[in-house]
């Protein structure tokens, strides 16, 4: 596992990375608050603790690349550039949301950014991702496709079909497993007979690697290398990011399946704290600069709430829209 890497990080990149992670963290804390206040309903899955994965991976992409995520996708959506207000409004169900409020938290889409969900059937988007990569290959475009999923998804048949097809067709697809050790309440040892997940990619002939998903430098470095490999060789790559979710699976979860002490232990490796320390220790940021980033993020998140609250409900007469393309 790559832990102590020396990926070149200058002040501007460092600031950008820490800012993106802070933004996800604060945005989601606010979303949780608004869920408790019942402005947001349905399922809400928080990414808190896993920020280094989304920010690290997404920072290695270009606008030509396609991105497909799970229902735990607020982080990726923010990094991809969907405005926080549009995401918050979507979670409120307002028509000013990025999907007119039709999808909610689990279904964020923005075609202009090649951001294809927000997919809530576990592993259901892996075959879809194959198609995006296949189309890019057939049309000789430069883009690659990135598909995020949890380790729980790797027990589904669709994961195995997708791996085999990607390797067989040699298509430019980056599989990113966000291994947060739990699929709802099922710990990885109860869902996988082989828990070194990268071995599964290798068994399909796909270059595979596991990385410390709490260390954004490691994630960024590994993704950069993965993307280079894909662009050079044309075929798929499998990246496992070992991480942890600090919060419950969703807002309905009583967390009977894990000890509080385990969560506390992982919180000592908070990706934002670790990277902030790195920046300060290497003279890439000062405490004052970090504090002012926090403030900026806070304002941005508050603004997203104002935007969502000012939003409007789609008229019920439009209920039957978006069923067929006319």
């Amino acid at each position: 596992m790559a832990t102590s890497v020396e990926f070149p990080i200058d002040k501007s990149l460092g600031t950008k990375l820490v800012y993106e992670m802070m933004r996800i963290r604060r945005f989601e804390e606010k979303a949780a608050e608004m869920y408790t206040k019942t402005f947001i309903r349905g399922f809400l899955h928080l990414y808190i603790g896993e920020e280094a994965v989304a920010v690290g991976v997404m920072s290695a992409l270009t606008p030509e690349d396609n991105v497909l995520c799970t229902y735990r996708e607020h982080g990726q959506a923010l990094v991809r550039g969907i405005e926080a207000g549009k995401i918050m409004a979507e979670m409120y169900g307002k028509q000013e949301g990025c999907c007119k409020g039709r999808g909610g938290s689990m279904h964020l889409f923005d075609v202009s950014r090649r951001f294809y969900g927000g997919n809530a059937i576990v592993a259901g988007h892996l075959p879809l991702a194959l198609g995006f990569a296949l189309a890019d290959k057939k049309m000789k475009r430069n883009g690659i496709t990135v598909c995020f999923f949890g380790e729980g998804a790797m027990a589904e048949g669709e994961f195995h079909e997708a791996m085999n097809l990607a390797a067989l067709w040699k298509i430019p697809l980056l599989f990113v497993c966000e291994n947060n050790l739990y699929a709802m309440g099922t710990a990885i040892r109860y869902s996988h007979a082989v828990t070194e997940l990268e071995k599964k990619g290798a068994s399909y002939g796909i270059p595979s690697r596991a990385v410390d998903g709490m260390d954004i430098r490691a994630v960024l470095q590994a993704t950069t290398e993965a993307v280079e490999t894909i662009r050079r060789e044309g075929g798929p790559y499998f990246l496992v990011c070992n991480t942890y979710r600090f919060r419950a699976h969703s807002m309905f979860d009583a967390e009977l399946y894990r000890d509080k002490s385990e969560v506390e232990e992982w919180k000592k490796r908070d990706p934002i704290v670790m990277f902030s320390d790195y920046l300060v220790n290497n003279n890439l940021a000062t405490h004052e600069e970090l504090a002012s980033l926090e403030k900026k993020v806070e304002e941005e998140v508050n603004e997203s709430v104002r935007y969502a609250e000012a939003g409007t409900w789609e008229p019920v007469e439009q209920l039957e829209e978006f069923v067929y393309q006319t």
């Binding site: 309903r41 349905g42 399922f43 169900g93 307002k94 409020g101 039709r102 999808g103 909610g104 689990m106 279904h107 997919n119 809530a120 059937i121 576990v122 592993a123 259901g124 729980g152 998804a153 027990a155 589904e156 048949g157 669709e158 699929a183 709802m184 309440g185 099922t186 710990a187 109860y190 869902s191 996988h192 979860d253 009583a254 009977l256 399946y257 409900w313 789609e314 019920v316 209920l319 039957e320 069923v323």
Partner: protein, 327 residues
Amino acid sequence: MNITYREAIKQAIREALRSDEKVFLLGEDVGRYGGAFAVSKGLLQEFGPERIMDTPLSEAGFVGAGIGAAIAGMRPIVEVMTVNFSLLALDQIANNAATLLHMSGGQINVPVVIRMSCGIGRQLAAQHSHSWEPIYAGIPGLKVLSAGTHEDARGMLLTALKDPNPVIIFEYTSMLNLERELPDNAGAVDITRAAVRRQGTDLTIVTYGTGVYKALDAANELAATGLEAEVIDLRVLRPLDEATILESVKKTHRVLLVEDAWRSVGIAAEVSARITEKAFYELEAPVQRLCGVEVPIPYPKHLEDASVPQKEQIIEMAKSICAPVLN
């Protein structure tokens, strides 16, 4: 005693586990998590991991395993977390569970019970709000049950486990916290007949699932306006209990069919056809349907509510069907 729908299901599972050691519960997060909707909370501690088996996310795999184990002599209760994910196991159910008896010339029967929670109304958006009862109700070889009351949530499982055929039981997530009176000795119930949940003379409302309590509430309000609606809970979506429906039509001569599932090719469509075939001359008015609007279910509350039948609409349609009686 008043108990929740959730508790009713749990009591049934517990009773089944206690009374037959071949019974075991198999599904995602049924054990350590306590069930996605806390239905099986505590059962792992009570019965141990051999009988409360957590599975990985592998719907085709564990549903197929349940089918195989049932053939091989066990009595698995397979829980598919929600009906939405059951499509991944549909091949196992439709191509294995439903066909083996026939293909083997009667040698292999499949006594598996598959429970799935379903329903609309918790703002879970399009991929998590499916009403797939009509898909399963269209498959010969399956018995398909819908627990629209606490009594059935408590009783259907026990009878299903005694049945030599594959039985699918639909449970409704939006009813889990609902409390109703249930006698202490409530237990196994018949799984062949529809139930007349309310007697009436002016109109028959046929429904199932979450429609049952809604229709009963609507019928009570209609009574205040002088209309006596008979409410039929289909309970068994396959094979349909035609006799109970036809008998009611002969009495009331007017029919309103209510279901959450999409209008086209739904259970209501089938019931309507049967009535037209067998009781056409009994009808005083065209059979009417109040079904799900044909749109993937949207996330916002107001649009979600507008997608499925509401009590007010049942009342309104009942009145319009009965307009000649009222005048």
